[in-house]
C-alpha cells in the first residue's frame, strides 16, 4: 500500500505469535506514526525518524566488545543485557537470584509456553500507535516475576544497547514484562545506551503489574547515542497498597520520549514518578505521564525537572485523572524547567481532570532562568560567576535526583548527571 | 421552665456510643462547667447541641426554651440563640470577618424581629466589642480565621458571641492554647456577657479557666456519663486529685 506507515512492510508473519503481532500491526497501521494531530503528541514530532530508513533488527548482530561507559552504573546487582533488543547471556549476570524471583528472556518464555506468553502480552497494548507497533514486532525482552512476599535482594540492572551495524540504522522493539506478586519487593534499573555512529530506534514497552502491598522501585537512565530515537512506554497497573517509585534521567538521544501510564486500581497506593532531563545541542526530550486514580484513597506524586541548553527542547505533559468516586485522592505534580540558552524551548501541559470532590489535587509548573539573587549571593561571597553558575545549575538538577530513595543508584545517576553538567560552558548561553 | 433540658441523651458516632445517658438542666442566668478527661465526650456534647452532622442520637431528648432542639437545623438553632464557640474554628478564605459577622447578625436580627443594622451602626457596635477583646481593625478586615494564631481565633470566637448575643452559649475548650494574658482577656469578655437572661456551658479540661469564670455548677463527664456534679469547689478538688478516680471506671 503506497504511503503506508513506516515499518509496516517489514512485518514478518513467520516469527512467533503471528496472530498477536498481526493484531498490533493492524492497530498501528490504522493509526500510523503519531504526529501533532494527536493531542498526546502535540509537542513531539517523529518526522525525522521516518527519514532514516531503518531496518528491522532481526538480522543485526548482537555481539559487543564491552558494555559502553554510558550504560554503566556503579551498582552491585543482577544484570540482564540486551543488544538491539535481543537478550545476550554472555554479558548478563543472573546467578544467585533468590528463590521465587525468576528472570527469563521473553523469547525463551515464548518458546517455552507460547499460549501463556500470548496471554501475558495482550494486556499492555492499549492501542496507542507505538505500543501497537511494539506488539507487531516484539521478539524479545525481559520477563521478571517475583513471587508473593519475596524480596529481590539486589537491584536488577537491565542494560539495553543499540548497535546499528556498519552505518545502517536499525529499529528494535523490546517488550519487558515485570510481575510483582502481593507483598513482593524489587528494584529494577534500566540503562539505555548505544555504540556505533548510525541512528537507531529503540521502541520499548514495559508492562508492569504490582500486586497488593508489593513495592517496585524502577529507575531509568536514558543515555542513548547522539543519533538515537528513544521511545519508552511504561504501562503500570497498581493494586491496593502497592508502591511504585519511578525515576527517569534523560541525558542522551536525539529524540527521547518517556511515557508512563499508571492505573491505580486499589486504595492505599503510593505512586511516585519523578525525573530529570538534561538537554543540549538540538536534542528533544519529552516526558509524558498519565496517572489514573480509578480507586479512592491513593496518593500520587510527580516531580520533573529539566535543564535546557543550546537549542534543546523539553516537553512535559502530565495528566492526572481522578475518576468518579475516587474520593480522598491526594495527587500532586510539579514541573520545573531551567532555560540556559536563547534558543532553548520548553513546552508544558500539566493537566488535572477531576470527577470527585473530596480530593486534594494540585499541580505547579515553572519555566525560567537562574535567579539573579542566589547568583549575587554566591558572588558576594567571593565565588566567580562561572563557578556560581555551575553550582546553581547543579543544585537545581540534583534536587530532582534526591527523589531516588536507593542511595547507590542515586549516586550512580548523579555521576552521569554531573558528567553532563561539567560539559556546560561557564556562563551558559544566556 | 428550664432554659436547657437534656434528658437521657445517648449519642453514637460510627456505631460507637460516645454519650451514654446525659441528664443536664440549665436555667437562665446560670453558668455550668463540664469537665472531664480527654475522650470523655465533652466535644461530642457541644457538637450535638449545635447540630453537627455525623452524630446519631440513639435515645433521649434536648429541649431548649421548651422546644425540641434536636428537630432544628443548625442555622435554626443559631437563630434561636444557641451559640457554640468552637474549639477549632475553621478558616474560610476570602470571606472577611466583618462581612461574615454582619451576615450572621442580620440573620439573627431578622429572626428576632429587629431591623437590620446599617453599615455604620454595625461597625460602631463591633468595634466597641472588639476593643474589649483587644481585637484591632486589621484583624477584623482579614479573611475569617485565616492565618490567625490560636489565641486570635479564640478571641474572635468570643467577639462573635458578644456581637450575636446568644441565649445559650457553649464554649468548647475556649481556654486551650491561650497564654495567661490572653486567657484573662477572653475570660473578661465572657464575664461581661453573663446576664440573668443568658446561660453558659463551659467545656474545659483544666480548672484554670474557672479561676476567671466562676461557674454555678460543675459536672464531671467521664465515659459518656455525668459522673459527679457539685459546686465550684468540685473543680478545685479535680485540680488537686486529677481525673484518676473517673478514669478507671469501665463503661
Amino acid at each position: 500500500m503506497a504511503g503506508d506507515a513506516p515499518f509496516v512492510d517489514q512485518f514478518s508473519a513467520a516469527a512467533p505469535l503471528p496472530a498477536l503481532r498481526a493484531g498490533g500491526l493492524a492497530r498501528y497501521r490504522a493509526a500510523g506514526l503519531p504526529g501533532p494531530a494527536i493531542e498526546a503528541w502535540k509537542y513531539t514530532s517523529l518526522d525525522a525518524l521516518t527519514k532514516l530508513g531503518l531496518l528491522p533488527a532481526g538480522g543485526a548482530p548482537t555481539t559487543l566488545e564491552a558494555l559502553p561507559e554510558a550504560a554503566l552504573l556503579a551498582v552491585d546487582g543482577y544484570r540482564a543485557v540486551f543488544v538491539n533488543g535481543r537478550f545476550v547471556p554472555a554479558f548478563s549476570a543472573l546467578d544467585g537470584l533468590p528463590k521465587g524471583a525468576v528472570v527469563e528472556s521473553l523469547a525463551a518464555h515464548i518458546a517455552r509456553d507460547p499460549a501463556a506468553a500470548e496471554a501475558a502480552l495482550a494486556g499492555a497494548d492499549d492501542g496507542t500507535p507505538l505500543v501497537a507497533l511494539n506488539t507487531a514486532f516484539l521478539t524479545d525482552g525481559l520477563v521478571l516475576t517475583v513471587d508473593r512476599g519475596v524480596v529481590l535482594d539486589k537491584p536488577l540492572h537491565l542494560v539495553s544497547i543499540g548497535r546499528p551495524p556498519d552505518g545502517q540504522g536499525v529499529a528494535f522493539h523490546p517488550r519487558h514484562l515485570i510481575r510483582l506478586a502481593p507483598d513482593a519487593v524489587a528494584t529494577v534499573v534500566e540503562s539505555h545506551a548505544g555504540v556505533g555512529g548510525a541512528g537507531y530506534f529503540a521502541n520499548t514497552v514495559a508492562d508492569i503489574r504490582v500486586e497488593d502491598g508489593a513495592t517496585l522501585r524502577h529507575y531509568v537512565l536514558q543515555n542513548q547515542a547522539a543519533e538515537a530515537f528513544h521511545v519508552a512506554a511504561v504501562r503500570l497497573a497498581l493494586a491496593a497498597r502497592a508502591s511504585y517509585e519511578g525515576f527517569v534521567l534523560h541525558i542522551g538521544a536525539r529524540l527521547a520520549r518517556h511515557e508512563l501510564a499508571a492505573t491505580i486500581a486499589g486504595d492505599g497506593v503510593d505512586c511516585r514518578m519523578n525525573g530529570l532531563y538534561l538537554v543540549a545541542g538540538s536534542q528533544h526530550v519529552d516526558n509524558t505521564t498519565f496517572i489514573d486514580h480509578a480507586q479512592p484513597g491513593s496518593r500520587s506524586r510527580q516531580l520533573f525537572k529539566g535543564v535546557l541548553d543550546d537549542s534543546g527542547r523539553g516537553v512535559f505533559q502530565g495528566r492526572v485523572l481522578v475518576r468518579p468516586h475516587a474520593q480522598k485522592t491526594d495527587a500532586h505534580q510539579l514541573s520545573r524547567a531551567l532555560l540556559l540558552s536563547r534558543k532553548a524551548e520548553m513546552d508544558g501541559k500539566p493537566e488535572l481532570e477531576i470527577y470527585a470532590d473530596d480530593v486534594r489535587c494540585s499541580h505547579g509548573a515553572t519555566i525560567g532562568s537562574l535567579d539573579q539573587e542566589p547568583m549575587f549571593y554566591l558572588m558576594s561571597r567571593g565565588i566567580d560567576p562561572a563557578t556560581a553558575y555551575r553550582m546553581l545549575v547543579e543544585a537545581f538538577a540534583v534536587e530532582a535526583l534526591d527523589e531516588i530513595s536507593v542511595a547507590a543508584i542515586r549516586d550512580a545517576f548523579a555521576t552521569h548527571a554531573q558528567a553532563w553538567l561539567a560539559t556546560r560552558r561557564a556562563g551558559g548561553g544566556a | 421552665m428550664a432554659l436547657l433540658e437534656i434528658k437521657n441523651l445517648h449519642v453514637a458516632v460510627d456505631d460507637r456510643e460516645i454519650l451514654k445517658g446525659i441528664d443536664l438542666t440549665l436555667d437562665a442566668g446560670e453558668v455550668h462547667a463540664i469537665m472531664g478527661p480527654n475522650g470523655s465526650g465533652k466535644s461530642t456534647l457541644s457538637y450535638v447541641l449545635a447540630g453537627r452532622e455525623g452524630y446519631a442520637i440513639t435515645a433521649g431528648t434536648i429541649r431548649f426554651q421548651g422546644k425540641d432542639l434536636l428537630a432544628m437545623a443548625p442555622d435554626e438553632r443559631a437563630r434561636k440563640g444557641v451559640f457554640l464557640a468552637f474549639q477549632y474554628p475553621v478558616e474560610i478564605p476570602g470571606v472577611a470577618g466583618m462581612t461574615f459577622l454582619k451576615t450572621a447578625l442580620n440573620a439573627l436580627r431578622k429572626e428576632r424581629g429587629a431591623g437590620e443594622l446599617d453599615a455604620m451602626q454595625f461597625l460602631k457596635f463591633v468595634r466597641a466589642q472588639a476593643k474589649r477583646l483587644e481585637i484591632g481593625d486589621e484583624m477584623l478586615k482579614r479573611a475569617l480565621n485565616v492565618g490567625f494564631s490560636g489565641g486570635e481565633k479564640k478571641r474572635n470566637e468570643v467577639l462573635q458571641m458578644a456581637v450575636l448575643e446568644p441565649i445559650l452559649a457553649v464554649l468548647d475548650e475556649t481556654d486551650s492554647g491561650l497564654d495567661i494574658d490572653a486567657l484573662k482577656i477572653v475570660a473578661d469578655g465572657v464575664n461581661a456577657l453573663r446576664s440573668p437572661e443568658r446561660a453558659m456551658l463551659l467545656i474545659t479540661h483544666y480548672q484554670r479557666l474557672l479561676d476567671y469564670i466562676v461557674p454555678d455548677r460543675v459536672h464531671v463527664l467521664a465515659h459518656g456519663r455525668i459522673a459527679k456534679s457539685g459546686g465550684k469547689e468540685l473543680a478545685l478538688e479535680l485540680e488537686r486529685k486529677g481525673y484518676g478516680e473517673f478514669l478507671g471506671e469501665a463503661a
Binding site: E39, P324, H325, Q327, A337, L339, L340, S341, R342, A344, E345, M346, D347, G348, K349, P350, E351, L352, E353, I354, Y355, A356, D357, D358, V359, R360, C361, S362, H363, G364, A365, T366, I367, G368, S369, G429, A430 | A50, G51, A73, P74, D75, A78, R79, F83, L84, F86, V90, I92, P93, G94, V95, F100, T103, A104, A107, L108, A143, Q160, L164
Partner: protein, 484 residues
C-alpha cells in the same frame, strides 16, 4: 447612590426566583427566512445598507466557513449544530435608528426594566452609558452627547459601518481574522449588530460603557460583533451583561469581540454572562461560543478581561491578549460557575511577543450538580519577549461528587529571561466550613454563597462596583440547590 439601591432592588428579585429573565417579549419582529445561505448573508448586508466591501468580506467568510471543521478539542459534549434550523436575522420592527428614548418601543423599555438595565433617568443616575442589543439590532444608545463632547464614539457597529467606515475597515478582523475558527467565521458572515467604541488619543472615557445583550426571538442565533479601539494614552472600562429567555431548544450565541489598545492605552472589559443555562435536566439553554481577543499593539498598553460566567448550557470562550507592544500587560480574571448539566470550557491565551510583557491569569472554577468545568489556557512566550512574566493561578471548587473540574494549561516558553509560573488546586467546600456558618445562623444556601464568594474574591474585586454586587448575587442563585 441611587444606582446601587436600584441594583440592590433588582438583585433582590433575582434571588427570588430561579431564572428571572425567562420572560419573552411579544413584539413584532422583522425576521429573515430560516436557514443559512449566501442569500441570507446578502439579505443581512442589504438590510443594513452596507457598503460593497463589507458584503464581500462577509461572503468570503461564509464560503470559508462552509469548509471549516467544528472545533472538537474542548471538553464539552453536544449534538451537532443544525445551522439551517435557525434564524440569522431578527429585528424588532420600526426601530431603524431611534433618535432618542422616546422613539423606542415602550414594550422594549419595559423588557429592559425587567432586566434591570438602567436606561434613561436610571442610566443617568447610574452613570452608565448603555448600548442595548435586542436580538440583532442596537435599539438605544444613551449618553451619546456627553461622550461626543469628549470625542468618544460609542454606537452600534451598524452605525459605525455607515459613519466611521475607515475605522471599521482598518480594525475589524485585524485581531480575530474571519478564518480564525468556525464560530468566529460564522459571525463574520452573519453578524447583525454589536457595539463600537473608539476612544480618542489621551481621553479617559468619563463613564463606564455598557451593553446589555438579550436573545428574545425563538430559534434565533445571536451574532453580535464588538470592536473597541483605545487610541494612544486613552482609557475605557466596558461592561457587558447577557440574558436570554427560557426555551426548550438550544440557541447559538457566537459573538466576536475585538479590542485594540495602542500606546499607553488601557481597556478594561468586564462581562457578567447569565444566558439561560437550560433546566435541571439540561434541556434548552444557550450555546455560548464566543471569540474574544485583545491586541496590546502599543507600548505600555494594557488589556484586562474580567468575566463572571454563570449562565449558558455550554460556554466556549477564551478571552485572550496578544501582547505585541513592549511592556504591555494582559490580565484575565475569571469566575465560571456550572451547575446541573451545564458545561464550561473557558480560559485565556496570553501570547507574549514584545519585551517585558506581563500577564496574569486568575481563574476560579466552581462545579456543582452534574456539570463539567474546564479551565483551558495557553501562555506562550516567543523568542523576542525578553523579560516577559506570567503568573497563573487556577483554582477549582467542587460541590458534590457527580461534577467535574478540569485544568488544561499549555505553557510554552522560548525565551530564557522569561519567567512563567503556573499553579492549580482543587478543593471542595468542607463540611466544617458549612457547619461553622450555619452555627452562626446562616442558611445552607447563604453559607454556600458566602464561601463561594470568598473563593472568588480575587476576581470579583476587579469588577466595577455595580457589576460586583450583581455577580455576587448571581453566584448564590446559580448554585441554589447544589448542596443539601
Amino acid at each position: 447612590m441611587a444606582s446601587s439601591i436600584d441594583t440592590r432592588e433588582r438583585l433582590q428579585s433575582v434571588t427570588d426566583q430561579a431564572y428571572k429573565y425567562g420572560f419573552v417579549t411579544d413584539i413584532d419582529t422583522d425576521v429573515a427566512p430560516k436557514g443559512l445561505s449566501e442569500d441570507i448573508v446578502r439579505f443581512i448586508s442589504a438590510r443594513k445598507a452596507e457598503p460593497e466591501w463589507l458584503l464581500a468580506w462577509r461572503l468570503k467568510a461564509y464560503r470559508h466557513w462552509l469548509a471549516m471543521p467544528e472545533p472538537i478539542w474542548s471538553h464539552v459534549k453536544f449534538p451537532a449544530l443544525d445551522y439551517q434550523d435557525a434564524y440569522y436575522y431578527s429585528a424588532p420592527k420600526a426601530t431603524d435608528g431611534p433618535k432618542s428614548l422616546d422613539e423606542v418601543d415602550p414594550k422594549l423599555l419595559e423588557t429592559y426594566e425587567k432586566l434591570g438595565v438602567p436606561l434613561g433617568e436610571r442610566a443617568l443616575l447610574a452613570g452608565v452609558a448603555v448600548d442595548a442589543v435586542f436580538d440583532s439590532v442596537s435599539v438605544a444608545t444613551t449618553f451619546k452627547k456627553k461622550l461626543e463632547e469628549k470625542g468618544v464614539i460609542f454606537c452600534s457597529i451598524s452605525e459605525a459601518v455607515q459613519k466611521h467606515p475607515e475605522l471599521i475597515k482598518k480594525y475589524m478582523g485585524s485581531v480575530v481574522p474571519y478564518a480564525d475558527n468556525k464560530h468566529a467565521c460564522l459571525n463574520s458572515a452573519v453578524f447583525t449588530d454589536g457595539s463600537f467604541v473608539y476612544i480618542p488619543k489621551g481621553v479617559r472615557c468619563p463613564m463606564e460603557l455598557s451593553t446589555y445583550f438579550r436573545i428574545n426571538a425563538a430559534k434565533t442565533g445571536q451574532f453580535e460583533r464588538t470592536l473597541i479601539i483605545a487610541d494612544a494614552g486613552s482609557y475605557v472600562s466596558y461592561l457587558e451583561g447577557c440574558t436570554a429567555p427560557m426555551r426548550d431548544e438550544n440557541q447559538l450565541h457566537a459573538a466576536v469581540v475585538e479590542l485594540i489598545a495602542l500606546d499607553d492605552a488601557e481597556i478594561k472589559y468586564s462581562t457578567v454572562q447569565n444566558w439561560y443555562p437550560g433546566d435541571v435536566e439540561g434541556r434548552g439553554g444557550i450555546y455560548n461560543f464566543v471569540t474574544k481577543r485583545g491586541a496590546c499593539r502599543g507600548r505600555n498598553s494594557k488589556i484586562a478581561w474580567t468575566q463572571v460566567e454563570t449562565g449558558s448550557a455550554i460556554t466556549w470562550k477564551y478571552p485572550s491578549c496578544i501582547l505585541q507592544g513592549d511592556n504591555s500587560v494582559g490580565e484575565f480574571y475569571s469566575v465560571a460557575v456550572t451547575n446541573n448539566r451545564q458545561q464550561a470550557d473557558t480560559g485565556t491565551k496570553m501570547i507574549h511577543i514584545g519585551r517585558n510583557t506581563r500577564s496574569r491569569i486568575i481563574s476560579k472554577g466552581i462545579s456543582a450538580g452534574r456539570a463539567d468545568n474546564t479551565y483551558r489556557g495557553l501562555v506562550r512566550i516567543l523568542p523576542k519577549a525578553e523579560g516577559a512574566r506570567n503568573y497563573t493561578q487556577c483554582d477549582s471548587l467542587l460541590i458534590g461528587d457527580r461534577c467535574g473540574a478540569h485544568t488544561v494549561p499549555y505553557i510554552e516558553s522560548r525565551n530564557p529571561s522569561a519567567r512563567v509560573e503556573h499553579e492549580a488546586t482543587t478543593s471542595k467546600i468542607s463540611e466544617d466550613q458549612l457547619f461553622y456558618c450555619r452555627q452562626r445562623g446562616l442558611s445552607q444556601e447563604e453559607a454556600v454563597s458566602l464561601i463561594v464568594n470568598g473563593f472568588c474574591k480575587e476576581v470579583l474585586q476587579t469588577l466595577p462596583m455595580e457589576f460586583a454586587v450583581e455577580a455576587q448575587k448571581l453566584l448564590g442563585v446559580s448554585l441554589e440547590g447544589s448542596v443539601g
